[in-house]
């Protein structure tokens, strides 16, 4: 932890960066913090408890400003950073990416290519409780699954915390704000909520890196992250990509193979 604080302090002190994004102690668990001075770096903490995906801030112009910033990145954050770079959203020269290895070493990446190499060793796996719910759902009849999701969706009040917490939801104008035509009814209703989630999932197809920030953010505890997470599990083998590893040449929906399965097409 000290090594991390020193590193951050150094970067700020020598003016390499204008700001360091990291974690500080929060009410119940660590939360995002923005250090602008070397002194503030002393607030930094790092542990497995750090679950917020800091990549979400990297596309917020008013927070980032023009200067160079450093971000302390967990594995999920690293994945998001790569996906964002693939999507033309990051300026490699304006970003210092730091992580803390399992051996508790502070590692600074020279470039995105290095990040790619680094995360290649970390396989994106379904967590036990995720797998549990997925198994439960797959065990259900279609009608039961529909009931399950409808019940869940009935709790959604459209606060869009899922969108706000997702590093890849960086559109200036989200489809739910689109009103010509009004694709999705703006008020909270089970159907409108479901339509929103289906859109979110479809827009994430081939992009989602499975960090689970959307699910963590949901104040009413809907396991929405499973929608995209399950999609990764299904599509990765189907379309031949590695879960959580962004591809530079297009994603699941912007590319195709002549032999994509079509047993459902007459």
């Amino acid at each position: 932890m000290d090594k991390l604080r020193e590193k951050a302090a150094a970067l700020l002190a020598d003016g390499t960066v204008t700001m360091v994004l990291g974690y500080e102690e929060g009410t119940n668990k660590p939360r995002p913090v923005f250090c602008h001075t070397a002194e503030q770096a002393s607030k930094l903490v790092y542990s497995s408890q750090c679950i917020n995906n800091l990549a979400v801030y990297l596309t917020k112009k008013d927070i980032m400003g023009a200067g160079k910033v450093a971000v302390i990145a967990t594995i999920p954050t690293l994945r998001s950073i790569l996906q964002l770079s693939v999507e033309n959203q990051l300026n490699e020269d304006n970003l210092v990416v730091i992580t803390v290895t399992d051996k508790d070493e502070v590692k600074q990446f020279a470039n995105f290519a290095e990040i790619e190499a680094y995360i290649a060793d970390f396989e994106l796996k379904l967590e036990g409780k995720e797998q549990e719910i997925i198994n439960k759902l797959e065990g259900m009849s279609r009608e039961e699954r529909f009931k399950f999701w409808m019940e869940e969706m009935s709790h959604c009040f459209k606060c869009y915390a899922c969108r706000a917490a997702c590093p890849l939801c960086y559109c200036t104008k989200c489809i739910v704000e689109e009103n010509r035509p009004q694709w999705i009814n703006p008020w909270a209703s089970p159907l409108a909520n479901m339509e929103w989630q289906i859109n979110r999932a479809m827009h994430m197809a081939g992009r989602c890196t499975g960090c689970g920030a959307c699910g963590d953010a949901c104040p009413v505890g809907i396991p929405i992250h499973l929608l995209t997470r399950k999609m990764i599990e299904d599509l990765a083998p189907e379309f031949g990509f590695t879960p959580g590893q962004p591809s530079k040449n297009g994603n699941a929906l912007s590319t195709w193979k002549a032999d994509d399965k079509e047993n459902f097409i007459r």
């Binding site: 995002p32 923005f34 917020n52 703006p186 009413v220």
Partner: protein, 336 residues
Amino acid sequence: METKYISKNGLNEWFSQIVKSGKRVYAPVEERGKVEFKKVQALSEVAEEYIQTTQSIKSAVFPRAEVLFSYEKENGKVKVEDFNPDAVKETVLWKVHPCDAAGFKPLTAIFNWDYTDKLYNAHLEKTTLVTFSCAKADKSCFCTSVNGGPGNTTGSDVLLTMLPDGGAIVEILTPKGEALVQLAASAFENDKGEDKSKYLADVPQAFDIEEVRARLATAFDSSVWKEQSERCLGCGACAFVCPTCACFDIQEDAHGSKGKRIRCWDSCGFSLFTLHTSGHNPRAVQSQRWRQRILHKFSYMPDRLSVFGCTGCGRCSRACPVDMNILEHITSIAKK
């Protein structure tokens, strides 16, 4: 204004009488690891062990989405069907916390400020609040800092303070409350003279709200807003769980020649909330939206409506994905 005692059995009797009377009863119910207000039939469904429901009960009087009126155009003529107050059902809100009940005061103030809102008042009129004093609190609670308290009666029709024997001290606060009690008058006994304060949760006061208000009067251009809001993601979670947030949007649900006009929740935390058609946004960045949220609750509302827009329920702090702890933030403002 009368105080009575009700025994455990009496409580059961009263509750079943309320249900029998045909009134809808909403009470906290534990489901999917969350406690939320839900329509109930029996006292046994009501949750016991919890600090706070995730969402406030404001939706009982200010639903997430509500039809203002519906219309249909037929060969040139337009038929409008207005909102019908008589269609609103009698409702009892059971086991509301004092901080939630207190929320009804600012809500009522907002919906009757420059315009008397037909829908809100219709709901309110038919709603009776049976509030339970808080015996437990957590570090997000701060009712005592905002003119409230675990045994506060503001906004309630009846206030119950549970006693170790399973019975409760019953404070009947309004005619509505009295009427509800009359549904099972025999279930109530005379007051045993117990001091309810013994049974209330300990919620230390964190700041002096008037001091905060005074500081805020000059804080519009303070750097504090940027500092506090840097990590804010700009979602609407805080506003939607809040018992006093009343911002809404008005939307059209039009299909061919018929349609409905709908009022639905909105939040000043959304960047779109103040976006002009011209493309100009008077609250262009999140820090400005955060400032609006705080000033509105702790400065504008007391100025205009002589009531604070915060009851210290701490829901926003618990709901926030990035731990924007309002207690912490307000305290720091007070200390500045």
